[in-house]
């Protein structure tokens, strides 16, 4: 399942004094099985872009193709596209509305017209995917859960549609460090174990460095970089210009290199940094 965006333009409130171009000439392709991070400063067009992936926004110009089919052709049912491309909005817990967790997660499958048995199976499965026990929460009100649990229930509500691509807009914002670690781990598991294609929108460089394989950098509605994570994080000047940075450990390595230490700078995680720093210390004879 692939998503392809070709020369996409999107303008908010066209023809009014509030007209604003949000996306300009954006082209990119997301292949089956990828884990792509989309990064960019506030207002760079990230959220606008991902709303094109499942047809919530109609491009002002350009095309969006899901599985090589233009989704704005007349005979395409957008409902099908939205089932295939699951979109989790920022603060998804704000969309919860049902009386019980079960009913809320069942909302998506029910809209797809599935029978009760299949709905029950999907609710159970998606709750387990996000690390919540089915029996423990099914009859509780979503409004009495903790913030982290609410967010999981909301994500489960999208997973229950069994999409093949999962697009998440800032899924860990506002969570405490532990909730954030757990959720990121679950995303990684969804990608590895259940083979979801994942698109992660974030402005935390550390999060995308940890999970994504490929990075797309948006700046003022344009794609300014697109490539493997390590390669993109080498472009420190470009990232600084766009108001972003690099992961903290990468920053550290760059600083060491600036001070004349012979270290690799394409380090992304704390674990990699540990290995690299030990190697450095050993070569300097400070540890054995």
């Amino acid at each position: 399942m692939s998503i392809r965006v070709e020369n996409l333009y999107y303008t908010y409130s066209p023809g009014t004094p509030f007209e604003r171009a949000a996306l300009e000439d954006v082209s990119l392709e997301i292949d089956d099985g990828e884990f792509v991070g989309i990064i960019g400063a506030t207002g760079s067009g990230k959220s606008t872009l991902i709303q094109h992936f499942n047809g919530l926004l109609k491009p002002t110009r350009g095309r969006v193709l899901v599985d090589a089919v233009d989704i704005w052709q007349r005979d395409v049912r957008l409902k099908d596209i939205r089932q295939k491309v699951g979109l989790v909005f920022q603060y998804p817990e704000h969309q919860l509305f049902e009386e019980t967790v079960y009913a809320d997660i069942a909302f998506g499958p029910r809209n797809m017209g599935l029978d009760e048995g299949e709905i029950a199976r999907r609710v159970r499965r998606s709750l387990e995917m996000v690390g919540l026990g089915f029996e423990g929460v099914r009859d509780r009100s979503p409004f009495e859960l903790s913030g982290g649990e609410m967010r999981r229930v909301a994500i489960a509500g999208v997973l229950a549609m069994e999409p093949s691509v999962l697009v998440l807009d800032e899924p860990v914002s506002g969570l405490d460090p532990r909730g954030r670690d757990e959720l990121l781990e679950e995303l990684e598991m969804l990608h590895r174990k259940f083979e979801y294609t994942v698109v992660l929108v974030s402005h935390s460089m550390d999060d995308v460095a940890r999970l994504a394989k490929r990075l797309v950098v948006l700046h003022k509605g344009r794609v300014v970089a697109d490539g493997p994570v390590r390669q993109v994080f080498q472009m420190t000047n470009l990232l600084a210009e766009t108001g972003l940075g690099v992961p903290q450990v990468t920053e550290l390595m760059h600083e060491l290199a600036r001070r004349g230490k012979k270290v690799r700078t394409e380090v992304l995680t704390v674990e990699e940094a540990r290995v690299e720093l030990l190697r450095l210390l050993r070569s300097e004879g400070r540890v054995r």
């Binding site: 409130s13 709303q51 409902k79 089932q83 909005f89 509305f97 909302f107 809209n111 999208v158 549609m161």
Partner: protein, 263 residues
């Protein structure tokens, strides 16, 4: 999705109309509306239209944008015109089955439609050229004398400020929740009346939850800044009526009254 709503929107600017005292603008708008209901000749409507267009140009408002605000009204205008056209007695213009259109009806229908459109135009110039804060300050100050008879002028104005302030926020929120539910396969467009009403539940429940949350946070933030009503509260921007304001008020009122009396 809600990008076309112009009600309550404000276009920042620095035109002579923007700089007028909000109370003066309120006053002129009220006079315009009154005159609109007094005139009854084509020439009268024409002159009021001219006056409104003049104000629009003077405020440097994009004419097409202002006219777009009239669009939601189109249905009512057409209905009004149709009703007058067929419901009046007089010389026959044409017949459509059992319906008889008359010259008198066409004339009255046109006048009523004109009245509606001009009403909306006049008030939208006021809101488009006056920031919500200025507007409510103006209303508060106008209502101030009524405090003596127990009208809570400040509280009313504060409520209006807050309501106006939250219109765009709530619209944005509605748009976001709608999209989130559409991403889960919700359908807000098709189905019968009952089906449509039911499909609003997934939208309204989150919207109310978030509105209450916002209200709570706002109350907290206001209290944290020691807000305790209008008693003894001073302002950073004092409203002051200058020569320009008096000129505008007297000039427009005189012009409009002449139109009302003679046409």
């Amino acid at each position: 999705m809600f990008g076309n709503i112009t009600i309550g929107q404000y276009i920042p600017g620095d035109s002579p109309v923007h700089r007028l005292d909000p109370r003066v603008k309120l006053f002129i708008t009220l006079v315009t509306i009154t005159v609109l209901f007094l005139v009854h000749t084509m020439a009268g409507y024409g002159l009021v239209l001219l006056f409104i267009l003049g104000a629009m140009l003077l405020a440097r408002l994009p004419v097409r944008f202002v006219l777009r605000g009239v669009r939601p009204l189109l249905f009512i205008v057409v209905l009004t015109f149709g009703l007058h056209l067929f419901m009046n007695e007089g010389r026959v213009l044409f017949r459509m089955g059992p319906l008889v259109a008359t010259y008198e009806g066409a004339y009255r229908g046109f006048a009523m439609s004109m009245r509606l459109v001009l009403l909306v135009l006049a008030t939208s110039i006021l809101t488009l050229s006056t920031s919500p804060i200025e507007l409510t300050d103006g209303i508060e100050s106008t209502l101030a004398p009524a405090r003596l008879v127990g009208v809570p002028a400040h509280e009313l104005a504060m409520m209006m400020t807050i309501a106006l302030r939250f219109i765009p926020t709530l619209l944005e929120e509605t748009d976001k929740i709608m999209k989130a539910q559409m991403a889960r396969g919700a359908d807000f467009q098709t189905g019968g009346v009952l089906q449509k009403a039911k499909s609003l539940v997934p939208l309204l429940v989150p919207l109310f939850v978030s509105a209450f949350r916002r209200a709570d946070e706002l109350a907290m933030a206001m209290e944290a800044r020691c807000y305790r009503g209008g008693q003894g509260r001073t302002r950073m921007k004092q409203l002051r009526v200058g020569a320009r304001d008096i000129l505008a008020a007297v000039g427009s009122t005189a012009a409009l009254v002449i139109v009302a009396v003679y046409l």
